[in-house]
């Protein structure tokens, strides 16, 4: 039976068909839907959200050492967080087949950088598979576990935004159960004390050599011979663009197993074609290897070194052809993403935007949008969990330099659990004095509402203990009087907490606790936040002086024209921040 599936749905299906029994991940676009699609296989595959990618990887490694087929999944930057365990797990090899799904984001649709993790597979020495569509995502994932066991190597399953989020038809298969052996300690294999690790480093080369021999004659790598004037070497989604560009006017070496690289197969293919083109996104990973084999080829000298490819770009690069299009002189206006109407972060960022002489460090989440006009209230975003540690460093450095700039660090609940908690430990341990603001919107918001250790539920829908954030901060060493929890929709509460905490010369924590407006509310949310979605705001046009103060909250429910401002009834969620900033009391709260 064929069904339409996104690459992520297909990868999840492939894991189930391949006999996986354990899965762990931290959400991150474009990888999130892989684990979101696992609970449907709940009887067969236990799956969970971990607090971060390193923890997810270590949990899956533990399952593999225990003899169970397991996988973890993450976006490309999550690979950096998980690098520590995976670089050493490459040495030990696996017991149960192990797959690390890494989703790169060429073109930075939803990411702070564009890194090509094919380099990581080479650097860590992991078997690497690269599917080019949904069918291959399912098929390759299914086979990845046995492949991992056969060569005693972890697999890096390399996907990209377009393979993850495109849908295509998939022929489904059956699940293959893998027997779980009785546990036996393998100390020389898994305890990487130097004496053992040195031996493992040497045997890893033998395992790579065996995999290399396999790569030259395996189902993942195939030559498609048509016209031989041009030979295209490609992998992943780039194959689709190349195939559409050259059609049957070229031959293709379509690579699906790209570490280790199939040297003999490449040499053989290149000897049969007149000239060699390399079509790949981001770094010249294949190209550099082909050149190292002494084969002349054309690649990154004509196609871009960054951003996504597509058929138009490949056609223009190699054939010099551009499509005929309609043109216009009329200009469009950009639509930058904005905090939603009723977003609980708006009140906090509005209050921060009014404070002078502060530095605001941030990191990754919906709250990164606090940077945008008209709020402009977030000054840095480098990586997940960085906000408190950066704020700590900045506050110490500024004070030492004799500056009186106060530092505020904003971080989401999920991001605090991810790696921010270590940063707070640093700030407290080292007598820091930045104000850490934990934006607890009761869910992991940006990636589309995943449960986390603070929400009370697991990925599989079970009730779970909740992290008590104030108690955790206190246990780390923040003084009780320096921890305040507020409703961020109430500007007076936020301002009075800021007035109290900002002047202090010691670590302080402000927690803003209100659910994301797009969240599916739990019974606990409804009990704790009884006014949620119960009211809306309307502007009394008789009282309104059209001063536009409300517009400066940046709320998208406020529709501003020259003549007047109106509140869109279908968008307003009743946070009342606009009502509170109106100097003429022209905004009323009404029952919805």
């Amino acid at each position: 039976m064929k069904v339409i599936m996104s690459g992520n749905e297909a990868t999840a299906r492939g894991a189930w068909e391949g006999g996986a029994r354990f899965a762990s991940a931290y959400p991150g676009t474009p990888s999130t839907e892989i684990l979101e699609n696992m609970p449907q296989y709940g009887e067969d595959v236990y799956s969970e959200w971990a607090p971060n990618e390193k923890v997810a990887t270590e949990a899956a490694i533990g399952a593999s050492i225990a003899g169970v087929r397991s996988f973890c999944a993450m976006k490309h930057v999550g690979m950096n967080v998980a690098a520590d365990p995976i670089f050493t797990f490459a040495y030990t090899g696996v017991t149960g087949g192990f797959v690390m799904v890494v989703a790169d984001d060429p073109g930075q649709h939803s990411s702070q950088n564009e890194q090509d993790n094919r380099n990581t597979a080479k650097s860590a020495r992991l078997l690497m598979l690269e599917p080019s569509d949904s069918q291959e995502s399912k098929d390759f994932m299914k086979k990845a576990f046995a492949l991992s066991e056969r060569f005693d190597m972890p697999v890096l399953f390399h996907v990209t935004t377009r393979t993850c989020h495109s849908k295509g038809l998939v022929e489904l298969g059956e699940r293959e159960e893998a027997a779980v052996p009785d546990y036996e300690p393998k100390i020389r294999k898994y305890v990487t004390a130097p004496a053992n690790a040195k031996v493992l480093r040497a045997t890893l080369e033998d395992r790579i050599a065996a995999a290399k021999a396999f790569s030259n004659d395996c189902e993942f790598n195939r030559a498609e011979m048509h016209d031989t004037k041009i030979g295209v070497i490609t992998s992943g989604i780039s194959y689709q663009y190349a195939r559409e560009t050259f059609e049957e006017n070229a031959s293709y070496l379509k690579l699906g197993l790209t570490f280790p690289m199939p040297d003999d197969l490449i040499r053989d293919f290149c000897s049969k074609v007149d000239k060699v083109y390399i079509v790949e996104e981001m770094d010249p990973y294949i190209e550099e290897h082909v050149k190292m084999l002494g084969i002349e080829c054309t690649g990154k000298d004509v196609i871009p070194k960054f951003d996504e490819l597509n058929t138009d770009i490949v056609r223009k690069a190699f054939l010099g052809v551009e499509p005929e299009t309609y043109t216009t002189d009329m200009k469009t206006v950009v639509r930058p993403p904005a905090l939603c109407a009723g977003c609980p972060h708006r009140g906090l960022f509005y209050a921060l935007s009014k404070r002078k002489g502060i530095m605001i460090t941030g990191d990754i989440g919906c709250y990164t949008l606090g940077m945008a006009a008209p709020l402009n209230a977030l000054h840095s975003c480098i990586c997940m969990g960085a906000s408190i540690s950066q704020g700590h460093g900045a506050s110490i450095a500024l004070k030492d330099a004799g500056k009186d700039t106060k530092v505020v660090s904003v971080i989401g609940d999920s991001t605090f659990f991810h790696t921010g908690v270590n940063s707070l430990m640093d700030a407290v341990y080292n007598s820091g004095h930045n104000l850490s603001i934990i934006l607890d919107n009761r869910i992991t918001g940006m990636t589309g509402h995943q449960q986390n250790p603070g929400t009370g539920f697991t990925l599989m829908g079970k009730e779970a203990p909740e992290v008590d954030i104030p108690a955790l901060c206190k246990a780390i060493g923040v003084k009780e009087e320096n921890i305040i929890t507020v409703n961020p929709n109430h500007l007076d509460e936020v301002n009075s907490a800021l007035d109290k905490l900002l002047p202090k010369d010691e670590p302080c924590v402000l927690i803003t606790r209100w659910p994301c407006v797009l969240k599916k509310f739990s019974q606990q949310d409804i009990d704790e936040f009884p006014t949620l979605h119960k009211t809306q705001c309307v502007i009394d046009q008789d009282k309104c002086k059209n001063c536009k103060m409300c517009v400066k909250t940046g709320c998208p429910a406020l529709i501003n024209t020259k003549e007047k401002v109106v509140i869109d009834k279908t968008s307003c969620n009743g946070c009342t921040v606009c009502k509170q900033v109106c100097p003429f009391k022209a905004i009323e709260e009404v029952t919805r």
Binding site: H165, T328, A338
Partner: protein, 190 residues
């Protein structure tokens, strides 16, 4: 081998392009086509521009609709039609919802929403424009505007051999089936 057909559904996050494209692809698959569909999630959901790209034929490789190649562009919002004009095939058709969503820079007074977009586009290419929200409101729920637009798209692509009522029944919640069938046929007969 038959030519690959390309459809673009463009709009603003939250306008219901996803359900419309789900019904569309489901129908195309039943008709025996190879289908690929691409959409970008993430930051774009927070009020940004969104696009769903649908390609079908005997065999489809790339999931992306290139410039100058869309047979039909369905714009759920006026300015999004203008934004994607360069993706329309010469001789292709635009179905435009006569509906505006003001972007943040316009709201803040930093930019002006371009006036006269639909008339401007009519000078360049074949355009069918109508107020889909009003059509849907008359049928009982403005949210069904996405299915009104789907009806107009199906007509524009000549996809008459597919049982669209059955696809709506299979993809829509029971209590919305009648509304959406009516919306589809209203859009189809525009």
């Amino acid at each position: 081998m038959s030519e690959v057909k390309n459809i673009l559904l463009v709009g603003v996050g939250g306008q219901g392009t996803i359900l419309a494209s789900k019904i569309l692809t489901s129908g195309l698959i039943k008709a025996g086509y190879d289908v690929k569909m691409s959409e970008i999630h993430g930051m774009s959901q927070r009020g940004g521009s969104v696009s769903t790209q649908v390609r079908y034929g005997d065999k489809v490789y790339s999931p992306i609709v290139g410039k100058g190649s869309a047979d039909v562009i369905v714009a759920f919002e006026e300015m999004e039609a203008l934004r994607w004009l360069d993706h329309l095939k010469i001789g292709g058709k635009m179905v435009i919802n006569d509906y505006r969503i003001q972007p943040v820079p316009v709201n803040l007074g930093a930019a002006e929403y371009p006036e006269g977009i639909i008339d401007h586009l009519k000078e360049k290419c074949e355009v069918l424009s109508f107020k889909a929200a009003e059509v849907a409101t008359e049928l009982g729920n403005p949210k069904a505007m996405n299915i009104v637009l789907l009806g107009a798209l199906v007509k524009a692509m000549g996809l008459d051999e597919i049982d669209w009522d059955a696809e709506i029944e299979a993809n829509v919640k029971a209590r919305f089936i009648d509304l959406n069938k009516k919306a589809f046929h209203a859009g189809y007969s525009l």
